[in-house]
């Protein structure tokens, strides 16, 4: 009837070991899910790759579905950490924008398997109200709107609805991430970011055309 010795330090070790193992499983799971797709990945395969018994996986995740979802969440967690890390210590707003864009594209360029996971999530779990990515996006977008707002207030970007900027940029980055993955081209992140910034900041019109457009606008309004 003697209960096992489970003092605090022991428990802490257990908890940490568990967390490590969980992370280990997730990491391998992400790779496999990305490589073979959700339904193409079977638990047997995962267990073998992990060198553990199938049952062990089920000690950490209730079901294949939960495992997958946890893997998807992990991707978003890592993305966030990565971007936030790169933004640290950078104060200039324009610079922050550039760094964030490069960080975003760079993150998925380095981990194409993460892109695949986001697709799989959408394809297999249509029921989940919002995909992981968009849950993250919403919270994040607020922060950027504040940045653009302040730039607009001090006259560095022109007046327009803030959402216009964040929506267009979000969609552009999202589309770029997918396209890069699908077409399997990895153009230098640096150059791609430069292209994006150039167009989003300056537009494509020539100065002459801008003036013409402004006049046309003025006429219409008058």
């Amino acid at each position: 009837m003697t209960r096992p010795v489970h003092d605090d330090s022991q428990r802490a070790v257990d908890t940490e070991r568990r967390a490590q193992r969980e992370e280990q499983i997730l990491e391998t799971a992400v790779r496999l899910f990305a490589e073979h797709g959700y339904s193409g990945t079977d638990t047997q395969m995962l267990a073998e790759r992990l060198q553990v018994g199938k049952g062990t996986i089920y000690r950490y995740f209730r079901s294949k579905r939960e495992l997958f979802l946890a893997a998807a969440d992990r991707v978003m967690r890592l993305m966030r950490q990565n971007i936030d890390g790169q933004l640290e210590g950078i104060d200039d707003p324009f610079e922050r924008i550039g760094v964030a864009i490069r960080a975003f594209l760079g993150f998925f360029a380095e981990h194409p398997e993460f892109v695949e996971l986001l697709i799989q999530e959408r394809a297999q779990f249509k029921d989940r109200k919002k995909p992981t990515y968009f849950i993250h996006r919403e919270t994040n977008i607020k922060r950027w709107q504040a940045v653009y707002r302040s730039l607009m207030d001090c006259g560095r970007i022109r007046e327009m609805p803030i959402e216009r900027i964040t929506d267009v940029l979000s969609n552009l980055l999202y589309g770029t991430m997918f396209t890069n993955y699908f077409t399997d081209q990895s153009p230098s992140v640096e150059m791609q970011a430069r292209d994006i910034l150039d167009i989003v900041f300056h537009g494509i019109l020539s100065d002459a055309e801008r003036r013409r457009a402004a006049e046309g606008e003025a006429k219409r309004t008058s």
Copy 2:
């Protein structure tokens, strides 16, 4: 003395009937695949919906996989027809750009199930060299590059690598299409197109900031 039952005219009728039936199957298949996902859709379900036997479907498509792929191709075919149709008779390049953007966004806004199909295709058939969408994109992008080239030549848009424009715009539209579908918001296509054009044409910088940037650029170059 019996005449052959399958003379030429008869054969033509048969061929047409076959094509119609094929189209019919594809249409229903698209809806089902979009609604339940690829693996969530079973042939039984499809046969019932079509009021035909399971075997009949297999007379038109070798396998579930081929059926799905044909359905995805159909989506791209329809998209192309739709956009080309709307562009017909429009000559002004800027106008053509605007119409194409509105047509693209409008098409997928009216047929969200088509977006789902593109996702399913990617998720389930990772092996297919390039997703349908990107096969189409490549051929299409050439045509647009000519348009931008001519605009640049006559000084209406500023000098820059043509690909920069087409890549950014493609990615932006692609990302917008997905985001619209995923977040299930259908903001007016009209407004969304306006936002895109505004930023892509004029950029977000204020005039003051543009000048400052230009000066900075000049200094660096000098």
Copy 3:
């Protein structure tokens, strides 16, 4: 679009074929369930024994559970048919009682696997409100109470609560059926029925003891 020829005669053939197949499956299932127990019987085994694919079984029965329950119901159906058949044309009440007892014991002596099925049903499906057997018993017992009532009314059996007779006899037969099966002795049904009837009709007391008991009873009552 021509629908298949499904006239009435065709449909009748289909229905009959289906019923035959169902009966065939049930028969084999009973044997297997009896031989290996419910959980010891797997669908693969059943399919092999039937020389059909696993899927076919599932076309007839939604699940292993339903198959088993249908098999148990079949046993009771057969038992009833068998006993009723033997009772046909027999009018004398005492004779009917004897025939029913012999029919009951004989039925299960010939089909020990049916006894096993009743046990399996109880063991595996404790949730089912009442075991098949007892559902049948209840409806049946009413009919016998009428028989005993009439015998009592014409003074051929002594006054006592009717339920006392039917309960004791039912329990005795039930217990005998199980014991025969469990101990795997198959004493002649004929002799066993004779033993039961002898004791239930005449009791075990000697005439002397009966008188003594009657006197004792009389004294107590006076």
Copy 4:
């Protein structure tokens, strides 16, 4: 100079502790097996209920199977103790019969879970040569045959093969126990015993019918 930790007295304490623990496990096991059935009970559940580790259970019983069988044996042991206890000090044979019947029915009425265990044993371990119950029954029946023999010898019960009496009574009690459990009716044990004794002692025939039967018998024999 340290004395051996495991001297005789220590060992005795250990043995007793072990026996107690074993009993404890069995008691809980009986309840669980009865509640959820054999396959529905898992060792994890049992360990939790006992507040011990799964491994501990395996230190006392080689396997789930052995544990179950020991639990079934325990039931029979308890039954025997209970009945024997109630018979103690009672000498009159008729009274002993009555007490034994009441004790038997009472025991299982108070412990319906024990009935369930007997069923589970039969259902899951068909291979075991004889169910626990029947092993017990055989040894026990001998003792009762002696009782009936002596009653017959002194003319208190009429001449007939001794087995007829013990078989019928055993089967009747066995059937009554199951029926009580299955139909979940708990009629007073007292009344049920009275019903059984009335019929088994006196039979159901009226005096008139008995005489008629006796005459018929006489005629046939002459």
